[in-house]
Structure formats: C-alpha cells, structure tokens
Amino acid sequence: MSTVSNEIESFEDPGTPAHVARAADLNPRSEKRAEQQVAILFALSGLGSLLLIYSYVFVADDIFIFIPVMGDQNAHQLGLGIGMAMSLFFLGMAAIHWAKTLMPETEVVNHRHEFRSSNEDREEFVKTVKDGVAGVQLGRRKLIKRSLAVSMGLFALPPVLLLRDLGPLPKKQLETTSWKAGTRLVTDPGNRPILASDLEVGAVVQTLPAIAEGEERLLSDIAKDPVLLIRLRPEDFQLTPEKLAMTHEGIIAFSKICSHMGCAVALYEQQTKHLLCPCHQSTFDVTRGAKVIFGPAARPLPQLDITVDAEGYLVARAPFNESVGPSYWERNSQ
C-alpha cells in the first residue's frame, strides 16, 4: 500500500542557512551594552526582592492606595506581589537576554538513530524471555497453576474489603428528610415559627423544619430539608385536587433542593410565579406544582403538604411523599 507521493521530482534542500553574527559578536561596544543591559535586569530583580522584604516587614496591612482603573488597592499586598513578581521576572529576563546576546549561539546538529533495535538484539531478547518463561514451566505444573489462581483470586479481595468503612450504605437516607406530621416551619436564618398571616401575596420565605431547643442541624440534613414557602392568590393555582389539598389558603410549599442536581432553587419571580435554579437554569412553574417548563430538570420539585396548627403556625401535615433532591438508580419516580 503506497502512502506517499514523493517519487516526483521535488526541490533540493538548500541546507542550514549561513550563520549571521550578532551585534555583540562583532562590535565590542554592542557587547558592552548588552552586558550593561543584563546587569540592569539583575539589578531590577534585586530591587523587587527588596520591595518584597520592605512590604512584608514595614508596610501595615490596612493602608489602601488608589491605582487608576483598579481602584483602591491594599499597599501591603501590592508591595509583596509586585516585589515578588519583579524579583522573579527580571531574573528570568536577565538570564534570557544574556543567552540571546552574549552566549555562543551557533546551531548544532544532532543525528537521529532509528529506534528499532537491531535484529540481533531482538533475537537475543526473544531467546532470553523464552528461556526465562520456560523455567517457570507453568504448563507442566498444573497443581501449582491451580493453587496459584485460587490464592491470587482470594488475595485480590481484602484490599477492596478494607475500604468498606469509607461510608455507610445509603439505605433509606436518600428517601427521608426531617419533615414529619406536625413539624413546624421556621425561618432560615432566625428559626422563628411562621403564622399564615405573616405572608403577603407575593411573599417567599426560606424555611427549615423546627428543631428542639439546644439541638444542632447537621449539614446533611440541611442538604435535604429546606422548604420554600410561597403565597399566591388561591385562584392563581392550576393544580390537581390532591396537590391543591396540600396548600393552605394560597400558601404552597416546595422542597428547595433542585430535582436536577441538588442546588438550592431559591430564585422566585413574583410576577411570572416561576422558580429559577441558578445552577443550570431549570425553571419551575409554581402555579402548576413546580412543573418544569425550561432547562434540564426532569421532575417537578416535591411539594410539602402543609396546614396550620392550633396556634395558627404553619406546619407540615405529612413527610414528603417522594425523595427530595437529584435522581438516583433506586428512586421510584413513577
């Protein structure tokens, strides 16, 4: 299979171009000037180091100076940074300028050798390997072969097993949150219980489930528990009767954890009644039960069944009826 077309007559290689001398090679004055330039560059580098040391020791870190375009800059940080930058940069410039102008720069030609080993070496290699392998005689020694296989197989298991305690098994953790029947919704932050009358139409409140006095919230709970409370006018809803029953006088509650990848869907547009997740722009329509109307999310946000307790505070009537947050293999999403 021919792959190249160059049997036709091509041009001749003119060879490495003639060496052109540099100014510093020919003219002692140019040489001197190049030396001085290198020296100045080294000096600038030294200046930079001094600036860094001075800023570190003497410049207080609460002084701000005005630099055009950049605004107020911290003098201490600027001194450290510019000092370090100068000391490094000009050191490099000095070395390179020295090499370019003064060091011998005739080009040298190295020859390449083909990588393929000689046939002799190859044959000797094959012979060595064959002889070595033959010494093992695995083909003949069936008992060793079998017992080796068994012990190697078992040997591979402990390293995997030793990693078992890296984490607990998921079990039901992805399916449950802290919300139970009667859990009060409290403001986040602030932990204040919320009366239904506290919300005006158009209001949104960030909430978490109430916790007992002195208890601390775990971050892994905060990753599942946040709920958005939104108040609309009751006539704005276009919900099925079941979902409508989960609202209370125009107040509707959704999990704040995006059903796509778990970011907080906290962005509520009061006029369009849409929720927007800032991570990947999934958009949810509150009037239709947080139905996805744009973006990569595939499921609506889980809705929390809410009502008021005897004192008028908003509470959950039941836990979420589906898993909160992103999907996973074991999730029954039907």
Binding site: G202, A203, E269, Q271, T272, H274
Partner: protein
C-alpha cells in the same frame, strides 16, 4: 454705537454673538423655570394629594388607569403604599420608558417635591407600606453585619449574586446591582417587592434583620478588593478570561521574544 458697529465684520463677531445668544436663552429659561420649580417646601396635605393627582393623571394614568385601578399593561396601584411609589418614582423606574424587559433604574423624571406629591396621592387611595423614616433606617447602630451576610446569602444572593452585583432571571429579566443603592430604597424594595422581586414583609424579615441586610450591603460596597482587581466580583468566568488573555498572552509574547535571534 459707531465703535461697536465697526467690529461688525470682525472674525470673532459671529461666534461671540452666538455664545451670547445661547447664554441669554439658557439663563432666561433657567430663571423662568426656577421660578416655577421653586415652590414652597411645606404643603398642606390635601394640596399635596391634589398636586399628586394632577401629576398622576398627566404622567401615569395612560398605563395605570384614571383611578389607578390598573389595566392590561400595568398593575393596580390601589394599596401599593407610599413606599412603592417612593421607590419606583424615586429611582426613576417609573414612568417606564422602555417597555421591553423590565423597568430599569434611570434618571428620575420627577423631582423630590413631585415625587412626594405622587406618594401622597397613591397612599391616599388605600393603606399600604409606608416610607421608612430616618430613625428606622439607622442601620449603623441597629444592624449586625455578620448576621446581615447570612440573611443576604439566604434571601438575596440567588438573584443579586453573592456580592450584590446583580444576576440574570428568565427571559431577559434581571435582578439589578445593589451597589450604590440608597438604604431607603433597599428597605422599600424589600417591603414592596417591585416587579419580579418577592415581598419580604416585616413579619418574615424583621425590621432589625432588614437593617442588618442593609448594613452588610453597605459594608460590601465599601470593602476594597484585597487581592487586586476583581473584574466585577462575578466569579470564575472573568477569571478564566483574564488568564487566557493576559496570562497566556504575556507568556507567549515572552516565548516569541525568547526564541527570536538577537540582532
């Protein structure tokens, strides 16, 4: 007079006359309109409502209806309260000029007296959120910066960005930057929920919490950038742009210099 007329054909005569004419017209206009503008600063309350109604009928009723009842393109103003009007008119958002995406902050059309008149008129239609007084707005004394930061990140950062620089909403709408916004307007926006912004009444975010929010916003505004220029405080997008343009650009420039032969 003869001496003056001898300069009739001077080179500078025409330009000079032009300048004098312009100055004259300008000054006359200023003086005249100043007399119109320089109304007495104290109003009888009903006089303010009347004036407000007149301004409303001229500048607002074409969208908001003759009785502020609203219409197809503008909501009802009955019950929006003094705070709404003060915010919308004071920041120049209303009267709305460009109807495409949302009302943008711009140079106010009405001055402080006219705004106060509009406020009085709309507030007289039905009870609504009031303008916070200076005593209420003492955020320096009554606010807590750290708590304000927590509140901000929970309630505001998702639209306005972690540093209050503003952010995108759907369909071309946006949450504007909070930098340089007067504390009064921040408070009013919170309690009235302008346009896409939800309502944060004093029951859900208490007045003290609102002051903490304002204190944090002001401290973020005043905070200089410690590590250098931030290119807008919007995060990794501008940082990535800088590293390709300035970082690689500078390094490639040095590499080209390094490999070119010296003269």
């Amino acid at each position: 007079m003869k001496r003056l007329s001898s300069y009739r054909r001077h080179k500078a005569a025409a330009p000079l006359l032009l300048v004098i004419a312009l100055l004259g017209i300008g000054t006359t206009f200023n003086v005249a309109s100043a007399t119109i503008k320089a109304a007495p600063t104290t109003f009888a309350r009903s006089a303010a409502i009347d004036e407000g109604k007149q301004i409303f009928l001229k500048g607002c009723s074409s969208c908001h209806g003759l009785n502020a009842e609203g219409g197809a393109i503008a909501p009802s103003l009955i019950g929006v309260g003094a705070a709404s009007v003060d915010f919308q008119v004071g920041t120049g958002r209303m009267p709305m000029a460009d109807m495409s995406t949302q009302a943008a902050r711009k140079e106010p059309v009405y001055n402080a007296e006219q705004t106060a008149a509009l406020v009085a008129y709309v507030a007289s239609l039905a009870p609504g959120p009031a303008i916070p007084t200076d005593a209420v707005l003492n955020y320096e004394r009554d606010g807590n910066t750290a708590q304000g930061g927590e509140l901000f990140r929970n309630n505001c950062a998702m639209c306005h960005n972690f540093a209050g620089q503003g952010g995108a909403l759907t369909q071309g709408k946006y949450a504007p930057t909070l930098m340089g916004v007067e504390p009064k307007y921040i408070y009013e926006a919170l309690i009235t929920g302008p346009q896409s912004m939800p309502v944060f009444s004093d029951k859900t975010i208490t007045p003290a919490e609102k002051l903490s929010l304002i204190k944090w916003i002001k401290s973020a505004e005043a905070e200089p950038n410690l590590g250098g220029a931030t290119m807008g405080r919007i995060g990794p997008v501008t940082e990535g742009l800088l590293i390709w343009v300035l970082g690689l650009g500078l390094l490639i420039a040095v590499a080209v210099w390094l490999t070119t032969k010296a003269r």
